[in-house]
């Protein structure tokens, strides 16, 4: 008896003794039809599944145009205390799209970040760097304090207590026609170096900046 495995070595179906094989045929018609039906089904399923998936995950990769909001004249803000300002981060959804920003003039004797055109005014985000609750500036303690889990930050927004993993976020500011404008958000590490905006709870010191990658759609200015 011949070795049955030896028979399968030929690429021709007729050599493999498959019933109904044509001469010169390498794939049986049944196998071709099965593969074709599977392929057609996969194409039909992807035709609705892939657009739906892209539709759902699309907003992750969409970059919004920078929005600058005028908040007041240049002499309305002291350089040793914060003035709360309400700005709109998401238009069209009412109160839910607004956030409070603490604003003061840059003070060369306090601020340690490198001065440039975007930080002549310091705009501190109230979004806690722990999990995003709204912090408030407590004047008597000279601290930002978070009501949710007890995060505490100093005058520059650096963490001095509680669970936050990095300093408070900031906003770019600029002066146009003697008016202060607040622009997009950015995050800072513990040395107040700028990073593209990260979500709360994501450290950006050391390995953190690689563990929590930046958004492809949001870059530093």
């Amino acid at each position: 008896m011949p070795d049955k495995h030896a028979q399968h070595k030929s690429k021709y179906t007729s050599d493999r003794l498959i019933p109904g094989a044509f001469a010169g045929e390498t794939v049986t018609r049944r196998r071709l039809m099965t593969g074709g039906a599977h392929t057609a089904g996969a194409i039909a399923a992807s035709a609705f599944a892939l657009p739906a998936l892209g539709f759902a995950v699309g907003p992750i990769f969409k970059s919004e145009p920078h929005h600058w909001e005028t908040v007041g004249s240049v002499d309305a803000f002291p350089d040793d205390n914060y003035i709360p300002q309400i700005i709109t981060t998401t238009p069209g959804i009412g109160e839910a799209g607004k956030t409070t920003v603490y604003l003061r003039k840059r003070n060369a004797s306090i601020d340690i970040d490198k001065p440039d055109q975007y930080n002549q005014y310091i705009a501190i985000s109230t979004r806690c760097a722990h999990l995003g609750c709204p912090v408030r500036w407590v004047d008597a303690a000279e601290r930002f304090i978070c009501p949710c889990h007890g995060g505490v930050y100093d005058l520059l927004g650096r963490r001095v207590g509680g669970p936050p993993v990095r300093p408070l976020d900031r906003f770019y500011t600029r002066v146009v026609n003697n008016e202060v404008q607040i622009g997009p958000r950015y995050s800072v590490n513990s040395e107040l170096r700028r990073f593209s905006p990260r979500d709360p709870g994501e450290p950006i010191d050391g390995i953190g900046q690689y563990m929590y990658p930046s958004r492809p759609s949001a870059r530093k200015l």
């Binding site: 907003p59 992750i60 959804i93 009412g94 839910a96 799209g97 995003g132 949710c148 979500d199 994501e202």
Partner: protein, 269 residues
Amino acid sequence: MPKLPKLPAPPIPAPLRAPPPRPGDGNGNGGPIEQGKEAGITVVDWVDERTMLSGSMRWLLFRKVPKGNWFYTLGSATLFAFLSQAVTGVFLAMYYRPDPSGGAYESIRYVTNDVFLGQFVRGMHKWGSSVMVILIFLHMARTFFFGAYKYPRELNWVIGVVLLILTMVMSFTGYLLPFDQRAYWATIVGVNINGTGPLLGPYLSDFLRAGPEFGATTLSRFYAIHMLLVPGAIAALIGAHLYLVTKLGVTAPPWSKVEPNPELNSRQA
């Protein structure tokens, strides 16, 4: 010997006589109740003849179960909590508007204060969600302490864990829908907790929010996940869960002292 002519049989006393056939038994000549019964049986027979569902129903409902206790009812209690959530949720959806600029809160206020039985139905849904989570954990504890997760029921445990996670997703997404201060900030914190997962976390929280900030479509996204995506998955997985329970049978409690079949023992030896 010539046959004697038969005497007529004496009348049988009334109590010993067989009862006459009742009207409607088999001939359909009875009153409207009998006819209604016949019609019902006819309809069920018609469906069963074409679907053979009665066999499946017998397989599902009339199976042998070990002598258990009340802890064995926790699974069906969870199922009924889910059904209650589904029914009340469908009717709440008739009034709810996922509009973040005030409409969502207003529609919930309207349901609670103005709709007839609205506060009751919303209360069923709101408190029922907690009841469902509690029942799931009790059911899970029963399965664990009775050893009902062991071979061959591991896959059913895995399906149950997925159902637990999906129920948590329901609780999380449903929490935002009233869109009051508590809902908003709880969702901010919850989404940011998702974001603390390394590497994929930031993308997950962006997916949940539909962008880097809480935006115009975050609420409708949560609403769609809450009422379309996850309930469908839960219903399908409950079907798989119940199929495996029926297929594999219910575990006997660990204290059960049923003697094993000696024939099986001898065959093993």
